[in-house]
Symmetry: C3
Subunit: 346 residues, 3 copies
């Protein structure tokens, strides 16, 4: 499964330019300080530019105009992206399609695309549509009426409930749950009456959902995650949320019901967002931040409740000094009373 | 599957009263601003009362004595509850019982109720009792000695471990785990010796557990969740906890071992509660709150560590001003020193 | 299944000493205040020493030199550990190996140890090695190339992805996921390109992973959890992390990518640790703590961002007084201005 490629072939694949021996053959990737002459390495962070002089690598991926120190170089606009693409080229192997293995269980009226793999222990309901080249790993359960787009990968024991829809190239890690009932109850005296959750979840193209993350179906309409958004592990998206395009939702984030998240938003680990708020495009919320209301776009927030990140850094830097400040305040109060006493009442 | 009902039939179903054309036929529900003449809508929040004048709905569910603006009205004491009940009536369909499907695996001495559905890929151990009308979806695993009450619904890939007991009408969302081993270890030098967790979990009637939530079995006796309590997704209940009746435990809450939660407690998202504490009835803890000790009932708390909610709001409002306060404090200190110098030593 | 043992047998089993009637026969364990004459109880916390005088227990496990109040005593260095070991002796039963049950599905080139139990609904890939006495419960999925050491227990619906390795005596609770793809993406314009995660996860001996916890595979090399470390439920370990020996990682903790945790570290519930930091040996982080950087060992930290625990306690005790401090500061400012006015400009 080892592949060999010339530097010219790699440059053509990445849309880059070789400087040096374009015919050199390499067979894989390695870090700057570990790569040998049969490997390509990369320089993404200018901080490490001097390491290029010492690398044993056969070639270095770097941005145009960088100092080559006499090495073979493949110049590409985005060396880190180039590295990721070469990792895919060298180290991932398209599985040979297995078809529907005998220990899988399919309902009636299941439409199957070409070149699929449906593994043992998969259970698929009725009226399900599966696109081309889809892979469904063991133990995954697809309820009635689900649609799964081309090139999706559903890992072991993931669940997609009734009528939910996945776009193309979506990936569900093991144990991910799409379309669980939203947490909706009507108070009935001191008890709670469950409100039927009759909506669905839609994942657009290129959405990825981490291991054991959960996306609840809408009460009436659609919980929507737009194109390109990635959810890490153990994330919770409540019913009726709309998440924009190309968001990064890091592990253990929770977003309460009916909130709308803009495009290209980054929520760091363990952030919580209340329900019914709107988060603007390009917002970043720092780890463990608590968002109690809507946030304007293009800004970086932290804290519980969130404030601008720099303000939070200053406040947190002062926090440990709070007890000393209180003591000092008492001292000053006393000194002022003494001064007032010495001056006498006016 | 569309059902048609007269307003009188709906009023009778809800225990309400029609004002207007009781014979009008409707076939579903919709929001105030989207409902047509064949739909019922509802007014729960008085803030939107004026919208009743403009709705195209065939009828409006509202509280007795509200202004009808000439619309047909069904008066009910709790319009939101009425809406939830009509959603159930119009949009949920009782599944035809499927029996035990051939690809399910049952152990010995399994007692099965009437009108059940046990789907492919379900595995049930020995000495299990399943009540009437229970539905167990694909991939769910029921260990030995479990009891599941009438009308329970166990979704795909949920797990109920040995000897745990579910009351009537319990619902487990996909991936929920009931009865995993409690996190108990005895220090043995610098290592940890696992303490056998030989107790069980009991869910009383009408308990619902969200997707991928986990409820640990007790060390010796019972982890207990009382009637009517609802757990959202990704919630953790540790061993030996006792959760009261009709609590709402929102997503990603964690409750450590042996804590006792009262009745009708609401824990908002990502709240954490330490072990061995008691939380009084009707407590509310705001999102991300951290509870380090017992809490008196009938109060609303927030923050880490929690304080009364209003106190927390005030403290948090002041927090961003902390660096300015510190600066001001230094200035005042200096001014006082100057004043003291001018007055001389006494 | 009830076993009867003499006190001498129990003392021999624990490496302790009987004081009193070594021939007395008991058949189980119970708490100090509930134990009858056929049961052993234990005194671990000296606070409860006086209860020994009142217990009805047949014998008391206690540390050497404790007051026996005339009871039969088994003296052991660590009574709590002794209690845990006797729980194992009296109440846990080694299951009879079941072999590979017919409804399990095994790939090619699967190497099976002696005395295993592979339950219905388990799916095992190709080139997998399973050690002696391993138990794999229903619905668990083992991908290609996995190695599972002797005496491991894999609970229902847990997943171990391709090429990951488990040492001896590891335990996965239901729904645990080992080896899901790390959350790694290269920015590509405003979108994200998934970086192949070609590394693995290694769990050394005696590692336990809680229900629905997730451990991501490394990007290139190994996500490593060392001997004896225990993860509670719903814990997230990101790619490339290295967790030391004998750590206790409590429920809902999240550790971001490439962080290194020392030996014997305790992370309380809901703690979050950022990526690329180093946490020293014997560190304790209090519940909900947020760790933004590396931490020196042998210390107890709390808060977000963390500070020394005692400092945090003092700061948190002052926090609710912050609004009053601010008010007081304004008052003092006014008083000083008055004093300055009275003294006139110099």
């Amino acid at each position: 499964m080892i592949q060999s490629k010339t530097l010219q072939e790699l440059a053509d694949y990445l849309g880059g330019t070789v400087k040096g021996n374009a015919k050199l053959v390499v067979d894989g990737l390695a870090p700057l300080d570990a790569a040998g002459p049969d490997k390509v390495t990369f320089l993404a962070n200018p901080k490490y530019a001097a390491k290029v002089a010492e690398t044993m690598a056969g070639a270095v991926l770097m941005a145009p105009g960088g100092e080559s120190y006499g090495r073979n170089v493949i110049e590409v606009a985005n060396p880190y992206l180039g590295f990721a693409k070469l990792l895919t080229l060298f180290y991932t192997v398209a599985q040979t399609p297995r078809g529907v293995l005998p220990e899988a269980v399919l309902g009636t009226n299941v439409s199957l695309g070409d070149a699929i793999s449906i593994y043992p222990g998969v259970v698929i309901g009725n009226n399900v549509t599966i696109g081309d080249r889809v892979v469904i790993h063991p133990g995954a359960v697809i309820y009635d009426g689900v649609t799964i787009g081309d090139d999706c990968v559903i890992h072991a024991n993931a669940v997609v409930r009734e009528r939910c829809r996945l776009g193309k190239r979506c990936k569900l890690q093991p144990g991910a749950v799409i379309g669980s009932d939203g947490f909706g109850y009507a108070p009935d005296g001191s008890s709670y009456y469950p409100i039927p959750q009759i909506g669905i979840v839609v994942l657009e193209d290129d959405v990825e959902v981490g291991a054991n993350s959960t996306v609840d179906r809408a009460a009436l309409e659609v919980t929507l995650i737009r194109r390109g958004t990635k959810l890490d592990n153990l994330v919770q998206i409540a019913h009726n949320c709309q998440i924009g395009e190309d968001c990064m939702i890091v592990s253990q984030v929770g977003i309460a019901g009916s909130s709308k998240i803009g495009n290209h938003v980054t929520l760091a680990g363990q952030v919580g967002i209340v329900g019914h708020v709107t988060i603007g495009d390009n917002v970043i919320v720092g780890a463990q931040g608590g968002v109690p209301g809507s946030l304007a776009g293009n800004a970086y927030y932290s804290g519980t409740p969130v404030m601008p990140h720099k303000e939070w850094l200053r406040a947190m830097g002062t926090l440990p000094k709070l007890p000393d400040m209180r003591k000092k305040l008492h001292e000053l109060e006393k000194k002022i009373a003494e001064l007032e006493a010495r001056l006498g009442k006016e």
